[in-house]
Amino acid sequence: MSAPLLEVEHLSMRFEGLVAVDDLSFTAEERAITAIIGPNGAGKTTVFNCLTGFYRSTAGSMILHRDGRRFRLDRMAGYRIARDAGVARTFQNIRLFLGMTLLENLMVAQHEALMRASMFSVAGLFGLAPYRRAERAAKDKARDWLDRLGLLDSADLVAGALSYGDRRRLEIARAMCTGPALLCLDEPAAGLNPRETETLNELLLAIRDEHRIGLLLIEHDMKVVMGISDRILVLDYGKKIAEGTAEETQRDPAVIRAYLGEPEREEAGS
């Protein structure tokens, strides 16, 4: 039984008296979609921010296993987590490079590989073969993703020209172009209509099946969560209150209580 892709143990995040994440432990597996759900303010995005190095966690450890190596995410700088450990993410309010074209967005994601091939721009400056090869390969990878998303015709348009749904999917494609081991998606279905949500589900399932990758998903849209998740983690007030498959979670009384509140009390005296 190999180690899970991601092991989070006793993760805590405190902001000057406010405890956003409280002693959270969970795992995520490769080739699986793990969803994190919970009412608003439960600390879900905070967990992501800790995982991806935007916050320095107050306590606990996060370990990513990749190709037999261990990465202590809680001790790494943000960009290293993305570059070395291979944790990619999308953002709640979409952070595409709106002034740059679709192709450029996907090329920026492959920055590391291209920089190495260009030998810090020297090979690139003189148009040497290794760089040209690497650039062509990067373009091919970008083209494949655009083709799969049906956005190939818009490759040279600026990202700002895309519709909301297309932007969301492009951001996912851009994250995938970094060649990650773990893909973290922060509310990818927010603002999508039912048809777009279907397309998103297909995309995420395809990613799970075709790549050696684990997906971690924050979502409110239950059609997505229940439809594609292999495991669900439920948070409330920064604590884990349930963990399991879709059926198990739906039936868990703690979850129901968190979402719907206590049942109404009878009048005093009965």
Partner: protein, 438 residues
């Protein structure tokens, strides 16, 4: 663009109300103008024989206030009509012209370069001299463009690298008896090193803070140049700077022992214009190389990373890009280009002093980049031409130059923040129907 004609006012009461409101608006504006004008325009402090006195210029105040009043009135009254017909802010009317410009940008560029090369044959010596100054500023503008336009880092102390280039060139060439061509790359290296040293501690800072700190660095360099007399010669400056030669041919009436003069080699009469033309061609070549270099860098991953960083640093971090090294590279390359320009400046003048390296220079170069459109190569050229030529058109322009530039910077930001000529061409294309473009 179809224009919708302003409709006739529905009722005369409408028009009267509009007029009253506009009057009030204009009146308030005039009142503010009065408050602004009275102390500093209305009075003038005069010095005579060591004492100060006061003169009044209330006529100016009256004119100014009246101008503001009527100007605002016209603005207010025409607002409904303008709202109907305009399809966008100021830039809309320029748009067709700009589109034409974009399509033929390459052609215009080639024509411009050709004209630049032919200039010495077409124009007088003083024009060529002026053009040399223009090209220096173009180089500086393209250099700062890497930092401000591409990477989006507001550097207010760019003059520091210009100065490091000039002084390191002069001092090292003097100390090691090097020629212009030998010392030039060293100057660039020194400037790049300065860029890295200065950049390293501060590139983590937010935009505002970075701006102030770079401003501070510019000032520190200036103060050091002034006071470290033993090294830099202090306020009296430093001369004895080597002049460039053409493969060993010297541009002077007589050559030192072991060298031939240009006129001797080609069998022509000596003329001072030869050296001026030679310097012009050198800086022109340097500028063109700078241009090719920066355009090429933009198409490489490093250039894309600069632009991505400018757009969204957080997204860059999430993609595994180290913001500090990327910013540092922009800083260092921009500094190196500024250093080359500084070295040329030194050799052209034959003499350098701290006076030439003040904040005003940084502000001027920034103005060129901003007004030309951050990121636009052609825009920088046009802005540099305007900036250098304007004072030549008359003493009035020369005095008002920085005033107008300051106002223009504010104006451009408010009216068309991306500058007059800025349009971002993608750094690479996929081409038609997925076929990879060469």
């Amino acid at each position: 663009m179809t224009e919708v004609a302003a409709p006739e006012p529905v009722a005369t009461t409408h028009r009267r109300l509009d007029f009253a409101a506009s009057l009030k608006e204009a009146g308030l504006a005039a009142l503010v103008a009065l408050a602004l004008a009275v102390p500093l325009i209305g009075f003038r402090v005069v010095e005579s024989n060591g004492t100060v006195g006061l003169t009044t210029r209330f006529s100016w105040v009256a004119i100014g206030v009246a101008a503001v009043f009527f100007g605002r009135l016209v603005l207010a009254l025409s607002r409904p009509a303008r709202r109907q017909s305009a399809t966008g802010r100021g830039g809309a009317r320029l748009a067709p012209l700009l589109q034409f410009g974009r399509r033929y940008a390459r052609l215009i560029g080639i024509f411009g370069v050709g004209l630049a090369f032919a200039l010495p044959a077409l124009a007088t010596r003083s024009v060529v001299d002026l053009a040399t100054t223009v090209v220096i500023y173009v180089m500086l503008g393209w250099g700062l463009n890497v930092v401000v336009g591409l990477a989006g880092l507001l550097d207010l102390g760019y003059v520091a690298f210009y100065a490091v280039g000039a002084y390191s060139f002069a001092l090292i060439a003097h100390a090691l008896s090097l020629s212009f061509w030998e010392a030039l790359p060293i100057a660039g290296l020194c400037a790049a090193t300065a860029g890295i040293l200065l950049g390293f501690p501060v590139l983590r800072l937010r935009g505002d803070y970075l701006a102030i700190v770079t401003l501070g660095f510019g000032e520190i360099v200036h103060i050091l140049l002034l006071n470290w007399t033993s090294l830099t010669g202090g306020p009296s400056g430093f001369g004895d700077i080597p002049r460039p030669s053409l493969f060993g041919l010297v541009f002077a009436p007589h050559a030192p022992a072991g060298y031939r003069t240009f006129q001797d080699f080609f069998g022509v009469d000596f003329s001072p214009a030869q050296r001026i033309d030679f310097l012009y061609y050198i800086v022109l070549a340097m500028a063109l190389l700078t241009n090719l270099f920066t355009i090429r860098l933009r198409r490489l991953p490093i250039g894309r990373a600069w632009e991505a960083l400018r757009e969204d640093e957080i997204a860059c971090r999430a993609l595994g890009i180290n913001p500090t090294t990327v910013k540092l590279s922009a800083f260092a390359i921009g500094a190196m280009l500024g250093g080359f320009a500084g070295a040329f400046f030194a050799t052209r003048q034959g003499f350098i002093s701290p006076e030439s390296f003040t904040f005003i220079e940084s502000a001027t170069i920034l103005a060129i980049v901003v007004l030309g459109g951050m990121g636009s190569q052609l825009g920088v050229v046009l802005a540099a031409i305007v900036l250098v030529m304007a004072p030549e058109l008359g003493r009035a322009f020369s005095e008002f130059r920085m005033l107008i530039f300051g106002a223009a910077m504010v104006g451009i930001m408010v009216w068309q923040p991306r500058g007059l000529l800025s349009y971002r061409a993608p750094s690479l294309r996929l081409g038609q129907r997925g076929e990879a473009a060469p």
